[in-house]
């Protein structure tokens, strides 16, 4: 037990990786148990992540050194520098890790029934595990080059998964191609920024770079490259065009994980702004850039969503729009970062709202994509014009859809309302106009989900869907688990904010606590 705890950060990466390599062997032995095997592995990963979360959220960041007992190397001159790859997990990292663990576990469970008609499942599951590995790595790593490697692992795995269903039609391949091009650009720009850091400071460890950061011209260039490409990977307007393509063409279980993957990029964006640069950068400029990206994402995302006819494209545009809320909340936090009074009065609250929204969004958007997948599983179409009256036959799916839609539209008592309320009220003190736009977007969100609910579930039974049955139990379980989380978070948002979100926000803001763990430990 204690040895599991000591090696927990490595095991979270290592178990999915080992399982990914073992999947071909398992599939040769027995094709039926493949999905259960993957679900068990990811369930175990979820368990380890929960154990780590209990420890880290009480204020003990975890450091794990790969390949040696010490991170650092002391030169004969007495200069100490961390050279090994380390995992540095603080409250923010484990917050994202929890999202990844929950989402990938439920995605695997959902896949058992959802993908059973497809061939080549051993590749599907191996890639799913690799995607989970890449996301965990992005969130846990304390080494900026290692971050690039995991970013590429995650994007290559997700491209292959997006294009997985291209044996029937060409669209998944097209979406995969587009996603591959944009994610290659982003990864290469990240690598270029890594080169800029390494050229100046001769270290790759993020905490060490942060402690010697001087914000030279080269650092500015690196910051711009990183902010742009990571905002793009998170799907902010006007670089969001890959999002609807990729989200709509991937299998529903993968879309849910892709949402979490783009939030891992969002996490990296915040990590770089807060932990790497913090107040050395021009906080007001960068803050307003993030806020404006957020506003554009919110507004254009939701207005484009209203006119969509494809259910998953519509939800994908909502994912863009909800990303805007997170950017808005955290952007306000960045803008007042150098101003301790404003940070204390509303900056921290705004960031709590933004970060809490990440968690909420992963849960309800995951649930919505899963219900869209359930509709696709039974009807074989994603076109809303061809649906209707499905509420008669798929009552549980309809209920889960209502929960998800109410949460995303910010209807009390679900979790989306809690985080949106925090964002409205704290952003109002920064600039009332931003808050008003955010509320307007929320209304439009409700409007477009009323449209989906009306055209898919309401109305009389249609002739071609007369014999449609409820989806299998494993799919219902995944949806039900997410719905439970949404309701619980909605009823007790204070506990979540106090024990999970607030430590995460403080871990971001306190740069000195981030660097001290590495520099003090050497």
């Amino acid at each position: 037990m204690s040895s599991i705890m000591t090696h927990a950060p490595a095991l979270v990466i290592a178990f999915p990786l080992l399982a990914a390599f073992l999947v071909p062997v398992v599939s040769r032995l027995n094709k039926k148990i493949l999905g259960i095997f993957v679900a068990v592995v990811l369930g175990f990963t979820l368990l380890i992540t929960l154990l780590m979360a209990v420890r880290i959220l009480s204020g003990n960041p975890l450091i794990y050194v790969f390949g040696g007992s010490e991170a650092g190397l002391t030169l004969p001159s007495g200069y100490t520098v961390p050279i090994r790859i380390i995992f540095h997990i603080d409250s923010m990292g484990i917050f994202m890790g929890l999202i990844t663990a929950i989402v990938s576990f439920l995605g695997a469970i959902y896949s058992i029934a959802f993908m059973d008609k497809h061939s080549g499942l051993e590749k599907y599951y191996a890639l799913l595990l690799l995607l989970a590995t890449g996301m965990f790595g992005m969130e846990f790593t304390g080494d900026i080059f290692n971050f690039f490697v995991f970013l590429e692992i995650a994007s290559i795995a997700s491209v292959a998964l997006i294009a997985f269903r291209s044996n029937l039609s060409g669209e998944p391949a097209e979406a995969g191609f587009k996603y591959m091009v944009v994610s290659s650009i982003s990864a290469l720009m990240v690598l270029f920024a890594v080169g800029l850091f390494y050229g100046q400071y001769d270290v790759l460890n993020m905490a060490t770079i942060a402690s010697v950061m001087k914000f030279t011209q080269l650092d500015k260039i690196a910051l711009i490259l990183l902010v742009t490409v990571l905002a793009m990977k998170a799907g902010s307007v006007p670089m969001h065009m890959w999002t609807p393509d990729a989200y709509s063409e991937a299998p529903a279980s993968i879309t849910m994980i892709l949402v979490a993957a783009s939030q891992a990029s969002l996490y990296a964006l915040f990590r770089i702004i807060f932990s790497l640069y913090n107040i050395t950068l021009n906080t007001i400029t960068i803050g307003w850039i993030i806020i404006i990206l957020g506003l554009l994402s919110m507004f254009i995302g939701v207005t484009m969503a209203i006119i969509q006819k494809d259910i998953k494209r519509l939800m994908a545009y909502h994912a863009v729009s909800q990303t805007g809320y997170m950017l808005l909340g955290v952007g306000v936090g960045i803008a007042v970062l150098a101003n301790p009074i404003a940070l204390e009065t509303f900056g921290i609250k705004a960031m709590e709202g933004g970060i809490f929204h990440i968690m909420n969004h992963a849960m309800y958007k995951g649930l919505l994509f899963l219900t869209a997948g359930a509709l696709f599983y039974r009807t074989g179409t994603r076109n809303l014009n061809k649906m209707g009256g499905l509420g008669n036959n798929m009552i549980y799916t309809a209920i889960f859809f209502i929960i998800g839609a109410a949460a995303i539209a910010g209807i009390p008592p679900f979790n989306g309302f809690a985080s949106k309320l925090i964002i409205y009220e704290s952003v109002f003190q920064f600039n009332p106009l931003l808050s008003i736009i955010a509320m307007l977007v929320s209304i439009l969100t409700l409007a477009s989900f009323v449209k989906v609910f009306h055209s898919a579930f309401l109305g009389p039974k249609m002739e071609q869907y007369k014999d449609v049955k409820e989806v299998p139990k494993s799919m219902l379980f995944a949806m039900g688990a997410l719905a439970c989380i949404i309701v619980l978070f909605g009823l007790f948002p204070d506990l979540v904010v106090k024990y999970i979100v607030h430590p995460a926000v403080m871990a971001l803001i306190n740069q000195s606590s981030y660097t001290a763990v590495i520099l003090g430990g050497m």
Partner: protein, 115 residues
């Protein structure tokens, strides 16, 4: 001045790659554009580690007292090359599927997903 030539080459390669990505309308050429950017970034990393008059950092062939070039950027470059190979292979396979299904490689026609 002569020491800055590699950086000029880096800028040229990345610029050409970006030009290819934006203006070339063939999927294979876009793959080439990505490879160009990747090579530019790799050249940048390698150049960072170069020291004038230094030797290759091989443990068993290093005479005492001579400077070595930095091995870390070479390790980074190697990793990035490996990843780049995977990316290129994947992107070309996807382009192949697109050609099979659409019968064209023109970006203007490969856009059934829009709006």
């Amino acid at each position: 001045m002569i020491g800055n030539f590699p950086y000029l080459a880096v800028a040229l390669l990345i610029g050409l790659g970006i030009y290819t990505l934006i203006y070339k309308r063939n999927l294979i050429k876009i793959a080439i554009g990505i490879t160009l950017i990747e090579n530019g970034v790799n050249l940048f990393l390698i150049t960072l580690g170069y020291r004038k008059g230094a030797i290759a950092p091989i443990f068993t062939q290093a005479p005492e007292g001579l400077k070595m070039v930095l091995p870390t950027p070479q390790a980074l470059t190697l990793t990035s090359i490996v990843i780049g190979v995977a990316t290129t292979a994947l992107i070309l396979s996807v382009a192949m599927i697109i050609f099979k299904k659409y019968g064209t490689l023109d970006t203007d026609e490969v856009r059934r997903l829009k709006e």
